[in-house]
């Protein structure tokens, strides 16, 4: 219906390349999040789908039709801008009607669609105000309303929550998810906030340095990151990385040794692992304070979060490791502790950053 296909889309500004041969297929009705650090090209990619930026090479298809050479208005997409880009001199009603007026929609139909959208977004009482008289959250709704009334093939949202305060951001995030459930439109959402990506997306596109690192559901991206970059970027606290001294084969599975520590048995298949340049990766929730643990470390900082405690430690060779302890933890800074690593949740990365997961 309104699927989006990108084929080897590249973009450069003069000699500076900002996107390199990006391909993906977005199914109709998906909520896709482009996630990545600033400067990774995610906003540029969104703007190219919108038609605000020319593609340097490659093809974009929207609902089966090639659109990369079409002007923005002929693509049938709607965009919500980071700073909303509302027309400051128009009332909320005019802001939402403008696009429909330009395609000569009958007046009563415009009124009906604007009022329907306003009701859905609970901004009916604001229709006669101007943007300057609205709060940030209300402006945000108007910007979304302006997109909804046009009934677009796809919604493109460029960091729409970044200008809201923390509480409002969480609430609006929930409302966006509800909105997507209700109208079932294809949405592409750009953000650098991994929490937004995890909570909203049906699939996340993790981008870094002009390329796609991984496309997957939030859980895939979290538990089976394709690359070291994804592993480090998604999840809080960030994944632990420990340099591997040597790796041994134990019945087809890898056991990793670290400087001055007992080896850690994992379920990562030994076959295919390079023998040198490996980094061991494990999330804090798979590293527990345990008197029988294989790793010995010194505690730097203890963060008590209530339901759990994060223990920031340092190994003998200087590598840092964040482990978890139960909510009521007796660990103190300066203590020497032992940490057990869950071999089922461990992974390894080669020098190029490629991940090797447990089977």
């Amino acid at each position: 219906m309104s699927d989006i296909v990108l084929k080897e889309v590249s973009k450069s500004f003069g000699a500076v390349s900002v996107l390199d041969k990006v391909s993906m297929h977005i199914a109709s009705g998906e909520f896709i999040v482009f996630l990545g650090p600033s400067g990774c090209g995610k906003s540029t990619l969104l703007r190219m789908i919108a038609g605000l930026e020319q593609v340097t090479s490659g093809e974009i298809y929207l609902a089966g039709e090639r659109v990369d050479q079409l002007p923005p208005n002929e693509r049938g997409v709607a965009m919500v801008f980071q700073n909303y880009a509302l027309y400051p001199h128009m009332t909320v009603r005019d802001n939402m009607s403008f696009g429909l007026q330009n395609v000569r929609t009958p007046k009563d139909e415009i009124t009906r669609r604007v009022e329907d959208a306003a009701r859905m977004l609970e901004i009916s009482q604001l229709l006669d105000r101007k943007p300057a008289q609205l709060s940030g959250g209300q402006r945000q709704r108007v910007a979304i309303g302006r997109a909804i009334v046009r009934n677009p093939k796809a919604f493109l949202l460029d960091e729409p929550l970044s200008n809201l305060d923390a509480g409002l951001r969480v609430r609006t995030r929930l409302e966006l998810a509800q909105l997507h459930n209700r109208i079932k439109a294809t949405m592409i959402f750009v953000t650098h906030d991994q929490t937004e990506a995890m909570t909203l997306a049906t699939r996340i596109v993790v981008m870094n340095n002009k390329k796609i690192e991984q496309i997957g559901t939030p859980m895939e991206v979290y538990s089976r990151p394709a690359t070291r970059f994804v592993a480090a970027f998604v999840g809080s606290p960030a994944m632990n990385f420990i340099p591997v001294e040597s790796v041994t084969d134990r019945e087809g599975r890898a056991a990793f040794s670290f400087a001055g520590q007992q080896p850690v048995a994992t379920t990562v298949p030994f076959a295919g692992l390079p023998s040198t340049g490996l980094t061991f990766g494990i999330r804090a929730e798979a590293a527990h304070i345990d008197p029988n643990g294989s790793i010995e470390a010194t505690v730097d900082v203890v963060e008590r979060l209530g339901e759990r405690t994060l223990v920031y430690t340092r190994l003998a060779d200087g590598a840092s490791l964040v482990a978890e302890d139960k909510g009521i933890s007796s660990v103190q800074a300066g203590d020497t502790v032992r940490i057990a690593l869950d071999g089922h949740a461990a992974m390894a990365f080669d020098e190029a950053g490629k991940a090797y997961h447990a089977a």
Partner: protein, 292 residues
């Protein structure tokens, strides 16, 4: 913080004192004097007898005064709105350029503005010159013969208006360009996604958003052009000044050529009232339109 209120006020008065003094000596006092003199029969220099409203009564019956009022109004009509629209149009074109190209083109448009009026007069007098002026080529192509533009009654004011627009447009372009730059590019992108064509974008986005600047430019222009003197005075040299006389020129001729200080002051008061009335009125009207 605890502040010594009286001391702060004293300091404030001290700081504005130089301005207040200058303003009083150079503007307020001469203005009051002008109004006073307008009720006397004073010559250019020295005092005169109090004659009440006689100067004003004479003014209302003075055919040449009304000619000057009409000519000034005509000149304002020929310059204010066209100058503003041309300024906006050029600013919109210049704003499409980027980087150094924009700077160069903008500098070229601004260049005439820094010229003194005497230079402007020389340039255009040469260009319109009947014997060797370059503009005589298009003029004779259209009219079939060479025309002495500044000696042809019906062409005089439009020609001076043209020169004035060429001379002063740069400043308006600058103001409009600043106004255009303050419109967020996102808004134009949103409009492009909203199916707006270029005319719609101008009519519904650019024009309303640039309106405060337009109102300002119109008001500045109105005040400036009501006080027209130099260009008309220079271009009429060697010809008959009376038919194209403007108000400031008439004040000048009454005061400095006819030695009628009192009468000239009365005309100056009339011009003063016109300028204040029109500019306040216009600014209010324009502002309220923009707020709707």
């Amino acid at each position: 913080m605890i502040r010594n209120h009286r001391r702060e006020v004293t300091v404030a008065y001290l700081l504005i004192l130089p301005f207040v003094l200058t303003y009083g000596v150079l503007f307020l006092w001469p203005t009051i004097q002008m109004v006073y003199i307008s009720f006397t029969d004073a010559p250019l220099i020295g005092p005169g007898e109090w004659i009440g409203l006689e100067n004003y009564i004479e003014m209302f019956d003075d055919r040449r005064f009304w000619t000057a009022v009409r000519n000034t109004a005509y000149f304002v009509a020929l310059t204010v709105v066209p100058n503003t629209l041309i300024g906006l149009a050029i600013a919109m074109m210049v704003s499409r350029l980027k980087g150094w190209q924009q700077s160069i083109i903008l500098a070229l448009f601004f260049l005439p503005y820094i010229l003194p009026v005497s230079v402007v007069y020389r340039i255009w007098n040469w260009m319109f010159n009947v014997q060797f002026g370059i503009l005589q080529y298009p003029i004779s192509a259209i009219a079939g013969e060479r025309i002495n533009v500044f000696r042809t009654q019906w062409m005089f004011m439009p020609a001076v208006a043209l020169v004035t627009i060429w001379w002063t447009c740069g400043f308006n372009i600058l103001l409009f360009l600043a106004g255009l730059r303050s419109i967020s590019p996102d808004i134009y992108e949103a409009a492009a996604l909203d199916n707006a064509n270029r005319w719609t974008i101008f009519r519904r986005i650019t024009w309303p958003l640039i309106w405060p600047v337009t109102a300002l430019v119109l008001t500045i222009q109105l005040i400036l052009q009501l006080k027209i003197f130099d260009q008309v005075y220079l271009f009429v040299q060697g010809g008959r000044p009376d038919p194209s006389m403007v108000m400031v020129q008439y004040i000048y001729s009454q005061a400095f050529q006819k030695n009628q200080g009192g009468y000239a002051a009365a005309i100056a008061v009339a011009l003063f009232v016109i300028v204040i009335a029109f500019s306040v009125l216009q600014f209010q009207v324009l502002r309220s339109r923009g707020e709707k």
